[in-house]
Subunit: 335 residues, 2 copies
């Protein structure tokens, strides 16, 4: 693998010129440019990234951490982020933290060490070791959050209006005639779970049905919804609102195990609109998040920070959509 020195020699120019041909071609005369490019092509020269990054103090990489890479929701966000990053000349390093603070810190160190230029974290927990970076005055820290807006973090973020989305779900159920509704939330510590819960309660209250909500705390995983569903069925709810499609899947499973059927006996509504949601049995009514767009916008926000553009919008709210499929229907009582 040739170095820039050899390319320069072959083309009969200095290394500076070769470098310019590659990074600022307009500064070089056409003659020289073509000659150098020809040599580059023939020799298969590729700039050494370590040398470049040593000199420029830039890595052209963005670190994207997710709490759980096996979660299909995050997978779609990652895709959107990768696309946008590629457009901006960055590549994405994906890190799976498994909800483990130690691993989070390890990844965060990559930022401190400047192995990557910026960090996007999905989920609600900002690695502890980055706090100093944020509080530092001056240029904004190259850190952006996706999905889990947490105002006190002081980090730009991209998310939907979770309260409004949740209200839509509840209104849908109330509109169908449901008066006993189970709600399975995310963990209490999750800001978006709180927002969704607040939105749900608001919507019920507005309809004069505050007491129709039966709330259980889950953790977004299918397993966590099982017990709650069993329990809520015993409380005679006619509908279930789960704060993730995975939990909705658990709910459907528990409903079947109880010898009941969805939506005849119990309606179920999820959250996320995973690619598989349409293949649930019955196909799942759910709130769709613009997953790829969330990924894309987080990257754009981060790139703005990296390029010193101080973007006017540090909080980006994207649109959600209620997707009505077969898992919600009128309760038996209304038929």
């Amino acid at each position: 693998m040739p170095t820039i020195i050899e390319v320069a020699a072959l083309a009969g120019v200095s290394t500076a010129t070769v470098s310019r041909v590659l990074s600022r071609p307009e500064q070089v005369s056409e003659d020289t440019r073509l000659r150098v490019l020809a040599v580059v092509r023939e020799s298969g020269y590729v700039p050494n990234v370590a040398a470049r990054s040593l000199r420029t103090l830039r890595a052209a990489k963005i670190l994207l951490t997710v709490p759980d890479i096996s979660n299909a929701f995050f997978a779609s966000v990652i895709r959107g982020a990768e696309e946008a990053a590629r457009d901006a000349g960055y590549s994405v390093v994906v890190g799976d933290t498994r909800h483990d603070p130690d691993v989070e810190d390890q990844y965060a160190d990559m930022l401190s060490r400047r192995e990557v230029d910026g960090l996007i974290f999905l989920g609600h927990r900002l690695p502890a070791s980055l706090a100093p970076m944020l509080s530092r005055k001056g240029a904004a820290a190259p850190i952006v959050n996706g999905c889990e807006y947490s105002p006190d973090l002081g980090v730009p973020s991209v998310h939907i209006d979770n309260a409004a989305a949740s209200a839509d779900a509840i209104e849908h159920l109330i509109g169908l005639g449901h008066r006993r509704i189970g709600v399975v939330t995310g963990p209490e510590i999750s800001p978006i779970s709180r927002d969704r819960l607040a939105g749900a309660i608001d919507a019920a209250t507005r309809a004069g049905l505050r007491d129709s909500l039966h709330i259980r705390i889950g953790d977004y995983s299918a397993g966590s919804a099982i017990d709650h569903t069993r329990d809520l069925i015993a409380q005679d709810v006619t509908a279930l609102f789960c704060f993730s499609d995975e939990m909705a899947m658990g709910a459907l499973s528990a409903i079947g195990d109880a010898g009941l059927s969805c939506p005849k006996d119990v309606s179920v509504i999820g959250f996320d609109d995973l690619p598989l949601a349409r293949y649930f049995q019955p196909p799942l009514t759910t709130i769709a998040q613009p997953k790829a767009m969330i990924g894309r916008r987080t990257v754009e926000l981060l790139v703005d920070i990296l390029h010193g553009v101080d973007s006017p919008s540090r909080q980006v709210t994207l649109d959600h959509e209620l997707i009505v499929r077969g898992s919600t229907a009128q309760p038996a009582s209304a038929r």
Copy 2:
């Protein structure tokens, strides 16, 4: 952020000594070592990776490409790989190729450019641009495959015995009494799909039931199984063997849509044992692959190559397991 020069000055030693303290501590006297470490700790010194990698020509990174990051199967493999990589002092860069050869090549370039020390690719397609690297004589190319063993590639790989696993599935169905069995495969180009198909045919043939198999070509996605399932139901199959759990999910959905029920009317068996498989309705009988272990072993194989250990086993076959859940039962005719 201090450099090694400042640390050396503070500790009253040369940069060489600081470097040794960090990488080969046994070469340094205890006194000096402790003094330097103290300074390192206080100053928060972290070696600059770009400079190090420039000097050593190593990046301490492994690139892991997957054809589709939203596939839950790959997610588990990635986890295993990350763990093993961490153990070996490497970090993992995950790349999602979306089955796009251009993107594959882009990632492969990271290897040519030495941005990463090695490449693990899941799936069956080796990026074209890497062919020269493989054919080069001498040290083995730092490339390992996971999941999709393809003998002609000449790349070390880790996988299960797909033919045997598939035979297990067919034998299970035959043992239950099924005599008309639909098989929904992966794409024809996929070597593991071919292996599984061969295994299925073998098993059926051994049982004298070669003609009981009704084969349809899918693409591992839930959507692709829908039409095939409808079609196979029309052919009066009593059981379906899908080469992925996702397709099994599509099959279950199509069975429901047809007004039939699983396993009463049609048994379904999948492949992979995704985390969600147990929450399918009914819980899915499937072939479990040791996903995390596949990830781990690919990394170990790669690290051996990187360290010049020529490992005796260039092909690693791991154990699979048939997990019987609720989606398979005797056919109605046998009851």
